[in-house]
Symmetry: C2
Subunit: 215 residues, 2 copies
């Protein structure tokens, strides 16, 4: 509180510059991978030298940690809100899928890092929460699917475990090709995707032609 003037923040020496650097590092981690991104890369992108980064963060891991923690906290907060609304399996699934695609849109880099680097990062003790989040994710999805099978919203012969993996993977891997600036919005994609997952791509003989957003 003398020469380092700061806006109100949550404990670290944060504020704008810090956030700026984190966003930058996040973009590089997402594009090139955590291991392949060097501290020098990040510094260069920020127009400073590598040593200067250590004034803001104490390690490269710290940066990834901070990025993932805040993202996952927010994401799972939203998931919990959805579940609490008690919309029934089908609407809940639609809402969770929509939220996930929105995350791909609004937090593209964070999703990419979570998808591509979690397996590597989880080996470090400080990233143990990544395994917990995955378990939480599993619980969220299989609950929705199981209840749907029970209530008759979903096919009775569904392999819940396999379907969970299918949905989880397809939702998240969109991060590999989705461009936030593209012509299709996250909602468009969520809608098309739900069309496939719920009704399939095969032509119907008679019923339910195209589905429209259930918003």
């Amino acid at each position: 509180m003398s020469s380092t003037k700061q806006t109100a923040d949550s404990g670290h020496g944060s504020s704008s510059r810090r956030a700026e650097l984190l966003a930058l590092a996040g973009r590089l981690f997402a594009e090139r991978g955590f291991k392949s991104t060097t501290v020098r890369d990040i510094a260069e992108e920020a127009g400073i030298l590598s040593g200067s980064l250590y004034h803001h963060f104490d390690s490269k891991e710290s940066m990834a940690d901070e990025i993932l923690r805040s993202f996952l906290d927010e994401l799972f907060g939203t998931y919990r809100e959805i579940v609490a609304r008690d919309l029934g399996p089908r609407k809940t699934l639609e809402a969770v899928v929509a939220t996930s695609f929105e995350a791909v849109h609004n937090h593209h880099d964070e999703v990419a890092i979570f998808q591509n680097e979690a397996k590597y990062l989880v080996q470090f003790p400080r990233f143990a929460y990544l395994a917990e989040r995955n378990a939480e994710f599993h619980e969220l999805w299989t609950s929705i699917l199981s209840e749907g099978v029970r209530t008759g919203a979903f096919r009775a012969d569904l392999d819940v475990e396999l379907t969970y993996r299918f949905i989880r993977d397809t939702v998240w891997v969109a991060v590999h090709w989705y461009k936030p600036a593209g012509s299709l919005s996250a909602d468009d994609i969520a809608d098309e995707y739900l069309g496939i997952v719920l009704d399939g791509i095969a032509a119907r003989r008679g019923r339910r032609p195209a589905r429209k957003s259930a918003g």
Copy 2:
């Protein structure tokens, strides 16, 4: 041809030891990623020292190159055979999906490397063929889907480009969790996946209950 006795091979100083080392490197590349796997890691796994690896290969890149080349040649050979059979869009799609899951089963490491490392490797000139293979893949899938829409096998309102990405991703990401030794065979999984992609997970009111393998 003096002290280095070799079985008939295709140009390099190949034979069993070479193949052994390649398989080993492939496993590590698949598990930890290309960049995170050091030459020393590979050597240690083989019970030799890092310098000794350079008797067999002239670089780490060469190893990945050789692994991917032979795998992709074989895979796309099979794809071409399927297309040549002219089975119609739906059966072709089923066969291509089945083949892909078989690849996840039989060439697990290779698929993982192709999925996880292609984006990084393609930046090196020697790996330019990875981009070509991706284009070939795109052509294969969109042809099947477009023809299916044309003939009425698939929904008329399908976004072919988007559906292509979903199916492609769906098939390949299984490599992240599929264990060749697990209880479900590649065929079982292909069948379940086709069930979802073709008919969706939503319960039907009346028609077509569960599908059975068409292979």
